[in-house]
Amino acid sequence: MIQYQGVSKVFGSGPSSIVAVDNVTFNIEDGNLVTFLGPSGCGKTTLLRLTNRLIALSSGQILIDGKDVMSWDEVKLRQSIGYAIQEIGLFPNKTIYGNIAIVPRLLGWNEKRISDRVDELLNMLRLDPGVFRDRYPVELSGGQQQRIGVARCLAADPDLLLMDEPFGAIDPVNREEIQDEFIKVQAKLKKSIAFVTHDIYEAVKMGDRIAIFDEGRLVQFDTPEVILMKPANKYIEDFVGTDRTLKGLSLLSVRETMNQDHANVVEGRIKSAEAMNVLKEKGLSHLNVIEEGKPIGYVTTATLESDNIEVKKLIEPYPLCIAETDNLRDALSNMLMHDIQKIPVINENGYLTGTISYDDIHRRIVNLYSDHRITK
């Protein structure tokens, strides 16, 4: 755990001095990824660099697992913390192996252990060790270099990582990919991470919590959902953007929002007359037809006209199905794109587990807003 207690940093002295970090207090819990968010000059990078003493603290305390960082030897302190920067900073004179091995070598690991660790990390980041170990940084693409930057920061398996816009130097498509991969890696490794970014999407996507800074002050520290749904002030509201509700949708999963009522589900083998009765009895507009648990299409009063045929022969196919694990942003976007009000939801085995509609999404958002009003 990292504890920031009344941390301040003042550059210069006298009337020309600049307060870069102003009395900041919050904690990063074990296994949490906290994104430091704000525009440039808000103090987020300074706070990161204060943590491993690349810059000296003016006042306050930073504790790592209860121990004041000032009580460490600064070189030892940095060796025990992973560090990755936007410019990546791979050493061009060292191979990929040599770059990843930097901290383990400083810590005096033997070569066998380093070699195993390098292979393990390369595999974890989906780079073939046979291909990449002995390459030089300049022979790699930007995205590959960024992965090596991450591998280097994880090399000695530190509990704590400091990452300063680690995915900032690559194009959006590659960035998305490496973000997804890093989320998977983090889910497994459960490191405590301070992650600086100026990108609200990245902050929301990566962060267990977000710390938002403005002119050196911590203005809000909360989960992404709360920050999007309930920004603490006008500054944050502007920063997260007027589309914050839409951004929030990407944090909510279909599984927790979908309608699991099975009243409008029928088996494909029943006759159309029977299906018609169900529709009329329950006053439904359509029925979802399944076969062996999997959705095959839907029927409406219009399609059911001819009597006594198996409904599976009368179905209209779905334009698409959506997975339980998808987020509401994707669900909504699909509804708009295909001009449909309702999408069947399937689980990882392809079985129909529910449906999701505009109304379901709307209800979820209204609930969230009101929840936060109550808890605040």
């Binding site: 690349l54 940095r78 560090y83 920067i85 410019e87 900073g89 050493f91 061009p92 004179n93």
Partner: protein
């Protein structure tokens, strides 16, 4: 043709003086590197003294070599070395300072700051950073300085014959005194030949000591 004949007839003198010339230059470049490279590294991390040190080396460079020999004569006479190889080597060491200090300084200053930052953040001490990052990245520029110093010293060492240091300058000095043009030209050509070989040798060294990753980077133009 007559020059070739002169060289043939005086082959053993040519060898002897040539080796003496090489010896003077080699020892002075070696001593100069011993002083200038650490100094260059030091000032690259202490910006405040960098300007002064480089200015001082610059001033040294502007003193004509013959004047420097003259200036050292009374001083070194105190220890009985007013003439000969000692003042010659000292002068060459002084002249080598500027290219060596400046190249070392520039080479290290040109290491991208984000690499230094990364090294620091990973927990490398300033000593480790120097050894594993700054020197390897600056080495080709440092060797280029050594190359300049060597070639320059081969030329200046020829003048040192006037203070009795020996070397190929002896041909030139005596040739002038005896108005013996073949001797002058032979001396000049041999000095030039030596400089060309030294330059080629240093170019090879420069290439050999440049880390492979940097060579690849240059080849693919990054």
């Amino acid at each position: 043709m007559r020059i070739l004949k002169f060289v043939q007839e005086n082959a053993s003198d040519c060898w002897g003086l040539g080796l003496e010339h090489i010896w003077i230059v080699a020892i002075s470049v070696f001593l100069a590197a011993l002083i200038a490279i650490p100094l260059g590294v030091y000032i690259s991390h202490n910006e405040r003294v960098a300007k002064q040190v480089i200015s001082a080396a610059n001033i040294l460079m502007t003193i004509p070599s013959i004047a420097l020999f003259g200036l050292m004569l009374p001083i070194l006479s105190i220890i009985g070395h007013g003439l000969g190889k000692v003042p010659a080597v000292i002068a060459l060491v002084l002249y080598s300072q500027l290219p060596l200090i400046r190249n070392t300084y520039v080479g290290i200053k040109n290491v991208p700051p984000e690499l230094v930052e990364a090294g620091k953040g990973l927990g490398m001490s300033s000593w480790t950073r120097l050894r594993e990052l700054e020197i390897p990245l600056a080495i080709s520029v440092i060797i280029a300085g050594l190359r300049t110093a060597t070639v320059m010293n081969i030329g200046i060492a020829a003048i040192a014959a006037y203070i009795g240091a020996g070397g190929l300058g002896v041909f030139i000095q005596q040739g002038i005194a005896r108005v013996y043009s073949e001797m002058i030209i032979a001396g000049a050509l041999l000095v030039a030949l030596l400089a060309i070989f030294a330059d080629a040798g240093m170019a090879f060294l420069e290439r050999a000591l440049t880390p492979k990753g940097i060579r690849i980077a240059r080849r693919i133009g990054k």
